[in-house]
């Protein structure tokens, strides 16, 4: 009798302690806000949800790579700049040079991955703190983006030698990636975002690489002595973050129909917020991609609800900041 009672008590507590449940509770809270402040029923229309998903996709894709890096007990500040750089490269290649997407997309992905690998190498080989190494990459990649674009937005308007603008036709790849499918019910970028989540889930939950990532974040020295290739794993984690940033960069370019060298400014902070709201610990070793997904939904809905209720930008920012703190405190309280 007492034993049974004890057992259920334990399982209840365990259930409450699960970070997944806690993150989910925060999301449910935000959704409830949406149900209450439904802006004359706008919140109950699928279009609202579809647009939210489309809007959050780019940030969430950055959050995927950020999750991998944060679990290694690192951080990647360069994701926004890499997004900007790859958006510019993608636009130059496909709008100005009219290259085939079969060349353009791999080229951009390689460029993004290379940026990530470099900052990963700096932290892993030379023991530069991740914050500093990726801060340097953030500045550097932004510089490359401005240099490649000449500081101009790369759009369909191409300046001719005679001083006139010639408008190139929009390549089909832009329309394909920026369309909505399933009778206009979901955006292609959202599908890409979900694919990234699944890839990260496989890496973290199923692959040896994922185990290495958790082990390094949990205790790097113990991982090294257990024969785990710390250098290669870190290189891969940061490289992957660069890769996802490049994916996000391409999505951004097709949505804006241009490559803006200023694109992605402060996106790294949103990506970090998504990961942290999900409940992945900045100290490393704990967390997961499912949490990041929930975090992305929480932030996405929060912004959407505020915007459909026509809350002004100033109040929106202040409310978002407050709610981030609230969500994190709520998660801590149950720990």
């Amino acid at each position: 009798m007492t034993k049974n009672k004890l057992k259920t008590e334990i399982s209840q507590k365990k259930w409450l302690r699960s970070p997944f449940i806690r993150a989910f509770a925060a999301l449910v809270f935000v959704l409830l806000l949406g149900v209450i402040f439904n802006a004359d029923g706008a919140f109950f229309k699928w279009d609202t949800h579809r647009d939210m998903l489309r809007h959050i996709s780019v940030f969430a894709i950055l959050g995927c790579g950020m999750t991998l890096v944060i679990i290694t007990a690192g951080i990647d500040l360069s994701v926004g700049s890499i997004l900007g750089l790859t958006a510019v490269l993608f636009s130059i290649f496909s709008l100005h040079n009219a290259w085939s997407p079969w060349v353009t997309i791999p080229a951009c992905l390689i460029a993004g991955t290379a940026c990530g690998v470099i900052s990963g190498g700096l932290t892993a080989r030379f023991k530069i703190q991740p914050f500093i190494a990726t801060l340097a990459m953030m500045v550097f990649a932004r510089g490359v983006a401005k240099w490649a674009s000449g500081g101009q937005k790369i759009s369909t308007a191409v300046l001719q030698p005679d001083g006139n603008y010639h408008y190139t036709p929009v390549p089909p790849i832009f329309n394909v990636l920026n369309s909505k499918i399933l009778s206009d019910n979901i955006a292609v970028v959202t599908i890409i975002f979900l694919a990234c989540i699944i890839i990260c889930w496989i890496i973290l939950a199923k692959l040896k690489l994922g185990r290495y990532i958790y082990a390094i974040g949990g205790n790097e020295e113990a991982a090294r002595i257990s024969g785990i290739p710390v250098f290669a794993t870190k290189l891969l984690a940061y490289g992957m973050s660069g890769l996802f940033s490049a994916v996000a960069g391409i999505c951004q370019a097709v949505q804006e129909l241009q490559g803006d060298p200023e694109a992605g400014m402060t996106y790294e902070l949103t990506a970090i917020a998504i990961v942290v709201i999900g409940g992945t610990n900045l100290m490393g070793g704990r967390g997961g991609i499912g949490l990041t997904f929930i975090g992305a939904m929480t932030i996405g809905y929060l912004e959407k609800i505020l915007s459909i209720n026509a809350v002004g930008e100033a109040s929106r920012l202040m409310l978002t900041g407050t709610i981030i703190v609230g969500a994190v405190l709520f998660q801590k309280a149950r720990r």
Binding site: Y212, A223, I225, G227, I228
Partner: protein, 522 residues
């Protein structure tokens, strides 16, 4: 079920002349519904060393955390010098004269010795400016008294483990507490340092302080204990004076079963040579220009336990780490594994060649705290448990379950995070990790550190079993009795060099101590 235990409860060794400093009655404490302390009573008199004994997980640490104000939510009552008290925080307890020497070091690595000693209670002018002058003098005289040779401005991270432990002790003393709690203070100390600590304890007793002392070393219980109280599975078993409680009974009180001998009988079957190390050199990893290990050589046969003895700083740990590849190619020497030359490269490479290293810092280099038992066990052999980079979870789960059974790991579930286990069980998990790599040569650095009597006995029996299966074991341990009982051969190091080698029969404490001080006998 508990009835038979209750009968055994005794309260021997009452000496009513001394003042009672601390009394705790009917203390209970639960963590998430699990009772870890149940109706425990305890008291401490001035001028005595009261030993708290029991296996890992018996609730000793929880009990002292209640005394030290770490856990503020408990059942029962506490009296401090006749007054009921309820501490609000560790700070509150410290102000009321209770000082704790923690098992898990509470020092801040990036701060100096001096700053650590006064952390949180800095001497100040007008409550603002730190009075470094007074602080420094106080620290210097205290360290001098304790014969710790370290500059007060040294950063903690630059101090070796044993010095850190002495500083941890000094930190508790600088507070001028009435009640001092020592949680396994000697586990990282050398013999001479232990003697100095016991000298300090004697002084404290004369000053009228009461000391609560936790130890897993039986000899210490008999050497310094005035009274000993035993806990088992969160319950109070009894109190006695050590003189009235012979070791067999003490162990029975602690373990709940009778262990006839502390060390199991060893009958080694020595096979052919499987590790040979010649001309081993390792530069000082800390960066000074001297050698940590110089021209060292040793061999080990299959089925053999070779003890490596030496004082702290003799280079024995560095030798293990270097041989295993922790310092990469900095370690050099002619090494042969099963007759084949072996070049030290990295831990991963050494594991593939059949070496395994149990380090003496379980927390820092042994386990991954937030990972489950299963994942900690499979960590060093993931190649075996994966295919094309995909982890086969069934394979690792069954491996972990097998080890948990053989090593008697006590856990609710193998999915439990490892930092929820007691020290002894954590150590068994780390051992399981290394066994899972199927090593030929096992390097064990302090395998029984912070491990209770029952688990120690288990580990000794396992070492015998593994060697019977053909493994070679190199063993470092700061407990001389353990070294003498378990080793078939003992090699002594002094300042990175080899000073003596004894067979198991001819080795004695005196010979080893002399050779560790540098007397050569080769």
């Amino acid at each position: 079920m508990y009835g038979s235990e209750r009968i055994k409860n005794k309260r021997d060794g009452e000496d009513n002349n001394r003042k009672i400093l601390l009394r705790m009655e009917n203390i209970g404490k639960s963590f998430s519904g699990v009772k870890v302390l149940d109706d425990v009573s305890f008291d401490l008199k001035s001028g005595e060393v009261h030993i708290l004994a029991g296996e890992n997980g018996a609730g000793k640490t929880t009990l002292i955390k209640i005394i030290a104000g770490v856990h503020t939510d408990y059942e029962g009552e506490i009296w401090l010098e006749g007054q009921t008290v309820k501490f609000k925080s560790p700070h509150d307890a410290a102000r009321k004269g209770i000082s704790t020497i923690h098992q898990e070091m509470s020092l801040i690595n990036s701060m100096s010795v001096e700053d650590n000693m006064f952390l949180g209670r800095e001497k100040t002018h007008a409550g603002l400016w730190v009075d470094y002058h007074t602080q420094r003098n106080q620290v210097r005289s205290l360290l001098e008294q304790m014969e710790v040779d370290v500059a007060v401005s040294t950063l903690i991270e630059q101090c070796p483990l044993s010095v850190r432990q002495m500083i941890e002790i000094a930190k508790a003393l600088v507070n001028e507490a009435r009640i001092i709690i020592m949680d396994e203070p000697t586990s990282t100390l050398s013999d001479s340092e232990v003697s100095r600590l016991f000298e300090i304890i004697k002084n404290l007793k004369n000053k009228g302080c009461g000391i609560i002392y936790i130890s897993h070393r039986l000899e210490e219980i008999y050497r310094i204990g005035d009274r000993v109280s035993i806990l088992r599975d969160g319950r109070y078993i009894g109190t006695s004076t050590p003189q009235k409680l012979p070791p067999e009974d003490l162990i029975q009180w602690m373990v709940g079963r009778r262990i006839s001998k502390h060390f199991p009988e060893r009958s080694p079957l020595i096979g052919k040579e499987c590790l040979k190390v010649e001309n081993f050199f390792l530069p000082d990893p800390a960066g000074s220009k001297s050698w940590a290990v110089e021209d060292f050589s040793l061999c080990a046969h299959s089925g053999e336990i070779v003890g490596v003895a030496g004082l702290q700083g003799s280079g024995k740990s560095e030798f293990f780490n270097g041989l295993f590849g922790t310092y990469g190619r900095a370690a050099k020497g002619n090494i042969f594994l099963d007759g084949k030359p072996f070049n030290i490269q990295s831990p991963g490479d050494s594991i593939n060649h059949g070496l395994a290293l149990l380090t003496n810092e379980r927390k820092n280099t042994g386990l991954i705290p937030f990972m489950s038992i299963t994942r900690n066990v499979s960590l060093a052999s993931l190649n075996k448990h994966s295919k094309w980079g995909w982890i086969r979870s069934q394979s690792e789960e069954s491996a972990a379950a097998g080890h948990a059974k053989k090593l008697r790991i006590k856990a609710r579930s193998l999915d439990q995070e490892i930092d929820t286990l007691s020290g002894g069980n954590q150590q068994k998990v780390v051992l399981a990790k290394w066994l899972e790599t199927q090593p030929r040569v096992l390097l064990l650095n302090e395998p029984t550190m912070g491990v209770d009597v029952g688990a120690k006995h288990d580990i000794y029996a396992l070492m015998n079993k593994w060697t019977a299966q053909g493994l070679a074991i190199l063993l470092i341990t700061s407990e001389l009795s353990e070294l003498l009982a378990m080793s078939d051969r003992i090699i002594v190091m002094h300042r990175g060099r080899r000073t003596a080698e004894y067979s198991g029969n001819e080795a004695t404490q005196e010979k080893i101590t002399r050779a560790s001080m540098g007397e050569t006998e080769i």
